[in-house]
């Protein structure tokens, strides 16, 4: 083993979050949908996959269904919020996150509510069970690579340009004969699909989920990643994921009296975040601005 299990763990998280961040960037940076409901897709994916796998469904099928189920919600969300943009859309989608959180918490018969779901099985594919962290790392790396590649192709394709055009000026795009609603829901469904996939990867990696894993702090984390990385930059999201997941880990090595350990780390982390923004005010690789 070249890297320690801890490093492996961090890398696994990084790869899971790369999928999550890139997929959010697809909606937010490329399509201009200031979607704060992404964390809900992530949660929906995690729960769907966990519950199905516990019922005995093969892992890959559970994962795909988790993605699809999340993207159904993506479709619904776009349908409901079609008329909103900018901060208003942000608020509505934030509301959606909270509502999904509430449902996860209160639909106890299905989700076990606050008790969470323990003992989620590790993935097993074609009879091979992904058991150790090293194996899991390879597995998420694979899924991550495929997912990012697909999303990369999408944004680089003419279709991706349409998404960017929609971000910049939807009215103009419509009079050019493009169905912007269609674009938005396609983008959101793809985005939600991959969020669902990463939720599934998370659930089966940690093997325990509860609603708090899919709430504000997660939302802030992925939003920060996308924005620090730069809107409409996949490279940015990848780099920022690594930076933002890793920085707190470096801060662990600080030699601090245990009484202030947690808060000092967090405060430092926040300070570093602000410093990065001061240095790169459009994010690390960002070029575009949202209105």
């Amino acid at each position: 083993m070249i890297i320690s299990a801890y490093q492996t763990h961090i890398f696994i998280l990084i790869f899971i979050y790369i999928i999550l961040a890139v997929s959010l960037n697809l909606a937010l940076g490329y399509t201009g949908l200031l979607n704060l409901g992404h964390v809900a897709f992530y949660g929906i994916g995690a729960y769907t996959s966990a519950l199905l796998a516990i019922e005995g469904m093969p892992y890959l099928a559970a994962m795909i269904i988790a993605g699809l189920f999340a993207s159904v919600f993506g479709y619904l969300l776009v349908t409901a919020t079609d008329r909103l943009k900018g901060d208003y859309l942000a608020m509505a989608t934030l509301g959606f996150s909270f509502v999904v959180y509430s449902l996860l918490l209160n639909l106890r018969e299905i989700t076990r509510g606050a008790m969470g779901i323990p003992g989620i099985p590790k993935p097993s594919i074609l009879g091979l069970t992904v058991r150790t962290n090293d194996q899991y790392l390879i597995f998420v790396l694979l899924i991550c690579a495929i997912s990012v590649f697909i999303m990369y192709r999408i944004v680089k394709s003419p279709f991706g340009k349409l998404l960017e055009a929609n971000r910049d000026n939807a009215v103009c795009l419509r009079v050019l004969g493009k169905n912007t609603f269609g674009l938005k829901y396609k983008a959101m469904m793809i985005s939600a699909f991959f969020a669902g996939i990463s939720g599934s990867l998370y659930a089966h990696y940690i093997t325990f989920i509860d609603p708090t894993s899919f709430y504000i702090s997660e939302l802030i984390l992925i939003l920060t990643i996308v924005i620090v990385g730069g809107l409409a930059s996949i490279k940015g999201s990848i780099v920022a994921t690594a930076v933002i997941i890793y920085v707190p880990e470096i801060l662990r090595t600080l030699d601090l009296p245990s009484s202030v350990l947690g808060p000092v780390r967090q405060a430092l982390y926040a300070a570093i975040l602000i410093a990065i923004l001061m240095l790169r005010p459009r994010g690390i690789f960002g070029k575009v601005d949202l209105e």
Binding site: S4, I10, I206, F208, D210, T253, S258, G262
Partner: protein
Amino acid sequence: CTDTEEVTEDTGEDTITVGIMGPYTGGAAVYGNAAKDGAMLAFNEANLSNVEVIVEDTKSETKEAATAMNKMVSVDNVQAVVGDLISAATLAAAPIAEQNQVVMISPASTSTDVSDAGDYIFRTIPGDDGQGIFAAQTMSDAGYTKLALLYTNDQYGNGLATIITEEFTSLGGEIVAEETYEAGSSDMRTQLTKIKDANPEVVYIVSNTPDSSVALLRQVTEIGIEADIYGSEGLKVGSILELGDSVEGITITSVSPESEEFKQKYMDEYGEEPPAFAAQAYDAATAIIMAIEDGATNGEEIKDKLYEMEFDGASGHIKFDENGDVEGGYVLVEVQDGAFVTLEE
């Protein structure tokens, strides 16, 4: 990240690393810090030359708990861990500990799921069922028949509420109202209004975030609920005493109290009464220390020793059953003259 607080120097030979993990930021930070202080007290006292202690913050989050456990297991090579507190965090970290044969002793996770979390997973606090049954019986014995429940909508609250409901109704009582609130929120007026409206004889409150506890008890007074107030051990935090007269007479069901000896030691060290879970953490640490003193050098050996040992700890008699759970005694604690007073049975 080595915590150097008065811990013995690393002698270099066969050092055994022990971890402490818990929430030092986030909503449950108060309890996290108390547990850490309690555990450190034990390690400092034992002053073992071959034990090194490290501390990791899990921010009241499950993902952080998994990360902290991974880090301690593979970087620091810990053999045993005191923590986590929140059941969800414990459950997220447990599979990692189990897989790496690292002992984990939670001083505070009461979820029934923890029993099944694995061979290496122990706790020095009895599960929810214990406290729930005790609370229901106590209230029933005291002659109450109409109970209102107010609990935080999380693992702890739900777990406890379910058991109390079952037990209290089976004892012939009636649940006249059941209300929840979001952990950390500070506005429960309408829940309390509904409870007041249901006219219970007694209200049982489950709370594990101090800010909510304080807000809640204040509003109980303001709204003018006449029923007697009982509550879970989470209410046993110093801050609620500042509410003065209005918390007088509140009864808290608590795991058997810390020994006077521990209380004194804790007061000497930290200048305040031990908050909830400090004694349990002290005992968790003590159990690990005893195993090591007994010659255990790795997780597996510590685990084996734990299943065999039996001692009178700060929080009561400790003997782990086959699930790694302890039998706990419970007592009633009442607020009298601005202090927590343990009632004699």
